[in-house]
Subunit: 244 residues, 2 copies
């Protein structure tokens, strides 16, 4: 059996997230069905992590075990012929048998796109958060610096999440402005359920002047959890890369 | 009755073109239904021209007559609340009663996007032509110069088109390269059915070395109509602007 690693790009708009579920079509279901159709084998796929409904990926990593004789590098070509146009295998290659997309990952990078212009173009719908508030970029940049480091992110997790520990380390958090566009980029050793979206919601509150940097620091210390921002739309969120 | 002009942006992917028809959903049907719903009046809309199934618009122009008391500039806001997310009114304003989007137009500009990179991203699917041939840009630029001017474009029209005259004047035809992207831009006093798509098909044949500049000149003189390129996909075509 070979352990095959896939780098996936997908537009999450039409899917109920990555992980297989009964209530709707998921990336995993489509991917596993396509693998079965193309390689003639039922294979379970292991992602670096789930992405929620509507969340996109530029570099999701998935591995699976197969006895196919198709060359590892050609598996991407074979799968792309059958995959729908909103899911694409960027690359496929063989990895060590003990490689696991999730457990072997050292860090992950997400980006979140925000549009602050007059009106959102039809071409960007579903791919960005449209923010109609005036934002103080300088304060948001300072907040990014506060996010970096090891913190208990218990204030930045969906209320229905179950997890052993809420401590995570953020290696880098940046915000870049290009014209009417803001891109928040965050790299960390792990992310809690909805964490990036709540961080972005908090950054927007800070930019709007609804949350001060001092209060945000308290939230990061776990002392003002009700003051964390809202969970913003999945539209602007992209799993950019998984680092090993 | 006021004559109202709308500037429209749309993603053509999910529509059977602009013009109302029995066989599928069109931009015009959605727009007229939304006008009726929002302004309480059945209004016929007059576009600057049809766009085909799958063709997009950055600045389609449409006018219609209405007795609504909604301020002309606010009509865009009202319609955008009800329009689907792939159709958007960029602007609305009152125009002279004898203004007609099609007849009053002096010229129109279309752009066509071509991607020449390794593999098309899921985020660009349906919005660009993916061209896997190596193209000679220099020859294509020379062909653009040949397109400019008054010509009988009878070799660049869909075979089922009916039109009085096939003579059109192209004021400007350019091709710009940005990384793996090519953008063909063409401004003319009018365009025949499928004309831009056949021009792009011909440019690609020239870029591939399958059609020489000399042959292309003959096609433009109407002497080698079978040598014109294929009608390329609507995916990369955008009605950019209508000039009055």
């Amino acid at each position: 059996m070979k352990n095959i690693c896939l780098i996936l790009e997908y537009l999450g708009t039409n899917y109920c997230g990555f992980q297989r579920q009964k209530n709707g079509l998921t990336i995993q279901e489509v991917l596993e069905n396509t693998i079965e159709e193309c390689l003639g084998e039922k294979c379970k796929t292991y992602p670096s992590g789930r992405t929620d409904a509507g969340v996109h990926a530029l570099g999701q990593v998935v591995n699976f075990f197969t006895s196919t004789t198709v060359q590892p590098e050609k598996i991407s070509v074979v799968l792309n012929l059958k995959l729908p146009k909103d899911i694409r295998v960027v690359k496929s290659f063989e990895v060590d048998s003990n490689f696991n997309s999730r457990k072997s990952a050292k860090s992950k990078t997400y980006i979140y796109k925000i549009f602050t212009g007059h009106e959102l173009s039809v071409f960007d719908h579903g791919r960005v958060l449209f923010c109609y508030y005036k934002l103080d970029l300088d304060k948001m940049l300072k907040a990014c610096k506060l996010i970096e480091g090891e913190h208990d992110f218990s204030s930045f997790v969906a209320s229905n999440a179950t997890t052993k520990t809420t401590v995570r380390t953020i290696y880098k958090a940046t915000l870049e402005k290009t014209g009417d566009w803001l891109t928040f980029s965050v790299t960390g050793n792990g992310f809690l359920y909805n964490m990036v979206r709540i961080l972005v919601g908090s950054l927007i509150e800070i930019g709007r002047g609804k949350l001060s940097l001092e209060e945000f620091e308290k939230v990061l210390l776990g002392n003002a959890r009700h003051k964390a921002g809202k969970t913003v739309s999945p539209d602007g969120l992209y799993l950019k890369e998984v680092e090993y």
